[in-house]
Symmetry: C2
Subunit: 196 residues, 2 copies
């Protein structure tokens, strides 16, 4: 396993029954909530400007009642054409997608879409940094996986390869993201070691 | 001439009278449509990856009819916390807001919101490039205004200064964006001169 910050993964898992310990305090929150809180912390601390993009919606009908706000009465969810998060960190363009899986032994590639891969390949081509944040919920473990690693599995799948990335590959080629009080999914620390 | 999306620019424009001139052919299209087409061109041509963020919507009620897509039955427009467009160009983080005004002699600062200014100041602090694209509709003229120029007027307004930026200041301190067939609002060319 790679530890860009030199920390042992065991620090998060010292005590199975110890829910008073900070390393367990993120249970019950979704990965998205944790990342949003992290981004808010980064913003407040003047570390980075990274936001989640709004959910794309196709608006069909809007009512404009007198003296009150416009009400959308009919709309549909659209598929996003890019990724969930982007922004700027230490002068670099950052772009990532966050995915949770209930699977314990592998990350199913069905969680990823072709247009996201295309988008991330374009981002990398233009000098941006793109990656996945993958949470194995049953393990309560979060990894940063550089998009290039995922591309290899993706392209392999297109050629008849396996439809998922084994946990051990993510553990080996990805970077475990530590849980912290303020930066709950502290991916910036991993980026520091990897790209700066 | 090659059109990366295979589309002839003339196909969009019947061009009745005088509209055969390229500098007039964008009449009738909104600034947003023109910028979206420009970004699409940049993407297809492998020049940049810049997207408009979806309109943020607060979803209140969703129906899930059997055998068909989820329908949003009640939702409200939310104020965006950032700017309209961002992405990566030549390795740099790009962030901008596009505004049209029907005013001929000045750009009213009421078009801009404090949170956008705060966001852009943070972007600049982290090494990103932020700017406004301002269209004077009656003049059919489009300018790139570096956000630092707008900040000066913004901060001045806060201290009792004027509530708009005079056209002549934008003409002097901003950069006219030429209209082109393919890149209809070709701001990348201006960025090349300014930042690279």
């Amino acid at each position: 396993m790679n530890y860009p910050n030199g920390r042992r993964s065991s620090s998060r898992h010292a005590a199975p029954q110890g829910k008073t310990k900070p390393e367990f305090s993120n249970r019950g929150m979704t990965l998205e909530e944790d990342i949003n809180l992290t981004n808010e912390y980064y913003l407040q601390a003047g570390m980075a400007v990274i936001h989640k993009k709004p959910t794309p919606v196709q608006i069909v009908q809007v009512d404009y009642p007198k003296r009150s706000a416009a009400v959308i009465k009919e709309a549909y969810f659209k598929q996003a054409s890019t990724t969930d998060y982007n922004g700027v960190y230490r002068g670099r363009y950052i772009d990532f997608e966050a995915k949770e899986t209930k699977n314990k032994t592998s990350f199913p590639l069905s969680n990823v879409h072709q247009h996201q891969v295309d988008h991330m390949k374009a981002v990398e081509k233009h000098g941006g940094i793109s990656f996945f944040i993958i949470k194995f919920t049953p393990r309560d473990e979060v990894y940063l996986l550089p998009s290039s690693t995922l591309f290899a599995f993706w392209d392999d799948q297109q050629n008849g390869g396996r439809k998922s990335i084994p946990y051990h590959s993510i553990d080996k080629e990805g970077f475990r993201i530590p849980f912290r009080y303020q930066a709950r999914i502290d991916y910036a620390g991993v980026l520091d070691k990897l790209y700066f």
